[in-house]
Every structure is written in C-alpha cells, then in structure tokens.
Symmetry: C2
Subunit: 243 residues, 2 copies
C-alpha cells in the first residue's frame, strides 16, 4: 500500500528553492554546529531559510540555538517557530528532553510524518541536520525528496574520513549531488583530507581550525558566527553556495 | 512468530562471564578507541577477551586494530579470528569496505544473525562497541542479552553530555547496570562532567586528557596503550572492573 503522506511531501516542499543536507559518516565531527551556522549565515545574507533537525541519533541544534522555548503552532499542519531568523523544526518539539528510543521503522515513520505535516512555506534554503552514517533517514530522504544537495563534514581523523568515503560512494551511486567537503576541528597542518577529497572527485570547501570558543558559543548564535566555524562557513556560502 | 535464532543466542553467550557494552549518546566521543583499549587492557591483565564491533553507524575498531586481513572461519557457526590477543568480530567482515546502507530492521536482523552464529567460546569478558544513541542495537541487546553492563563515554561538551543524560535515563528505567562514565578528550580543567555524573547517581570513572598521540596510534595497538586513553583505562580496569 502506498503511504498517502508521501504524495503530500512533494507539495509541502514545492516552494523551497534549494535543500542542503549537512551530513557526515561519523558523529561528533561538528555537523550540527556547521548546519546551524550555515542556516544562520544564509539568513544573514538575506535569504529566507529553514533549519530542519533530522538527527534522530542525537538532536542538538535546539541546544546550539537555545530554541526549546518556542514550540511550533498548528495550522493545517505544523508551522515552524521563527528562531533567530530561521524557520526551525526538530523532533525535540515532540520528544522533549526525554530519551527517544526509536527503532529504524519508527525513525522512518517519524521522518515521513514530519515531512508531511511541516508547513515550511516559501524558502530560499532548507538546511537539514542529518544523523550520522547511512541509515533510514538518508535512504528515505533520497527516495522521497529527490533534489537534495549534500554538504559533507569530516574531521582530520582517519576514522572519520574512512566513513566519509563510504557515504560518498553511496551518494555517487545514487547520483545525489554533493556540494563538497568541510574539514572541521583541524589541529595540525596537513593536506591529507584535501588531497583525499580531490581524489574522490569532490570539491574541498574549507578547513576549520579547532576553536575553543565554539563550545562557549553553544546557546549564543551571535557568538557562534564569530568562531572559526562562522568565518569558514561565511566564505563557503559566498564562494560555493550563493555564487 | 518467534525467530528461532533468538533461543540460540543465550546458549552462544553462555560461557562468557561478563559482557560490557561501551556506549555513548553521541558519536565522535572516542567510544571505539575506548572499547578497543578496554579489551586490549583486560587481555594484558591475563583475561580471555572478545571484542565485538556492533557500531553499524560507523564501524572502526578494525581500523584501530589494523584487523582487516584476518577473516573469521566457519565451523558450526563463525569462529572469530584472534587479533592482537582478542577474539574479534565485526560487521566489516561481511560488508568489506563497501557502504552498508542498512535500515533499522536490517540492522536488527544483522545483529541477531551475528549473535546467533558467532562462536565466542569461553571468555572472561566480551567488550561491545555500540553505535551512538538509542536505536535498534541497544533495544535488541537489552531484550536478547539481559546481563549487559554499560560503560558510558562522553566528552566535556554540553552537546555530548546532554545525550548521555537521555541514555542514562533509558538504561535506569530498564534497570540495566551502569559501570560508570568516562570523560574523554578533555582539554580544559573543569569538574562539570564529574559533578553532573555524580548528580545522576553514577560513578565518574576517569577523565582522559586530549592526547594528539591517539590519532597516530590508529592501527598500532601497542602505541594506543601508551596514550592518555591507555593509561586511564588501565586504572579503570584495575579499580573498577577487576577489583
């Protein structure tokens, strides 16, 4: 049987010009911080931007944005609250601070429900914070929302980059467009990740030096934009996304 | 219908004295490095130890151990190869270096299959490297293998510790025993995580300072045991696990 919600999803996303999924092979590479910064930076440039937290493994953009106090409204679906200029939606509005022990099928179901009920309206960009790895969320999004562009985040660590290679190989096989790779939390000078990225035929977008101010900026979006992540993402937006 | 494999699992694990799952709310906190170090350290202390990589999101213990070249043997099930003194098993033996795009139900199925076919034999400890978060693997393990003890890894970051709280709340609700919490990759002096851990009624096992030698030790188990992770886990083993 066809899930009736899947036909609603295309309609719900029809007024969004571009959808960018910020993704990583492994967790803990700073994906949520980069997705949030990307959304905030695009908004500062005058774009109308949504941020959609689909990291069911460990949702955290609400902590970065200090966004818990503004719940969505119901109106022929769910209208995302405006948080620091972003149309913002997260699973956290439904699970609260409780643990959300979701099996894959439940994740898939929650994802389809969120896609089907959220009223994004007209947007220039929807930025999605993805869960790490290759599971239900990425497989469902690739199936249901065909025109997603991927921005991939890694650290300099061999363990992180090995998982990036696997994700890239899957995305290439499925012909999903990849904007490029950001190397985050860099601590030593080395061109390893840049070289490996170019070997994969992908664009190396930026290296972001480790910056202890990032942790202090959690919950304060103005501070976040002034960290090494903020500065690097501003350049990526100007050079690789808006131009 | 009852899956006939589930009744085999108890039998397969019956000669294992203790099962320790190394777990985290978020990825990228060093869970795989700590699970591998814990297994190696217990083996150095004279115990017979298995290491079971069930991190379907981003399996990486085979890279840490440089273990890919020693495949398991078939003999009334699958006999794990011996890698640096550990009985070692990972999904990677079946997926190779290819991406493994598994939906939750497939993860659950692969987990049950691995539990049902692996011939661990007599072990003092089985150390499990868990995937991040609360998904199919943790729910199935809690259902199928009742006597698992959890060792929880976090970093000092607020984002990591927030997800730890959720995992602890689920484990407490399900009455799963928790050995304690290790704070990894610590960069500044602060008792924040220690205090929060004790507020949750858990034991704070160790703080592991950030050590740039850890990255260099990937693929070299002797070097890994000499890093800050190796030194801290040795103390945890002596004080909190063997005593």
């Amino acid at each position: 049987m066809v899930d009736p919600r899947t036909s609603v999803i295309t309609e719900r996303l029809s007024k969004i010009k571009r959808i960018i999924a910020v993704s990583s092979g492994k967790g803990g590479v700073g994906k949520s911080l980069i997705a949030t910064t990307l959304a905030l930076t695009l908004a500062h440039e005058g774009c109308k931007v949504g941020l959609f937290d689909l990291d069911f493994t460990s949702p955290s953009t609400h902590i970065i944005l200090n966004a818990e106090k503004t719940p969505p409204k119901e109106e022929k679906g769910i209208v995302p609250p405006n948080v620091h200029g972003l149309e913002y939606m997260s699973l956290i509005y439904f699970s609260g601070d409780n643990p959300a022990p979701l099996r894959g099928a439940d994740v898939s179901n929650a994802l389809i429900e969120l896609l089907a009920i959220t009223q994004w309206g007209r947007l220039d960009f929807l930025v999605i914070d993805m869960p790490p790895g290759i599971g239900d969320v990425i497989l469902d999004l690739l199936r249901l929302v065909k025109r997603i562009e991927f921005l991939i985040v890694t650290t300099s660590s061999l363990l992180a980059f090995e998982t990036v290679k696997k994700q890239v190989s899957l995305l290439c096989e499925l012909k999903a467009p990849i904007i490029g790779v950001v190397e985050n939390m860099k601590m030593t000078k080395s061109d390893g990740v840049r070289d490996e990225t170019e070997k994969l035929g992908l664009r190396f977008l930026a290296e972001v030096c480790f910056d202890s101010k990032v942790e202090e900026s959690i919950g304060n979006e103005a501070k976040l934009l002034k960290t090494s992540i903020g500065r690097a993402i501003k350049q990526v937006v100007e050079k690789n996304i808006l131009s």
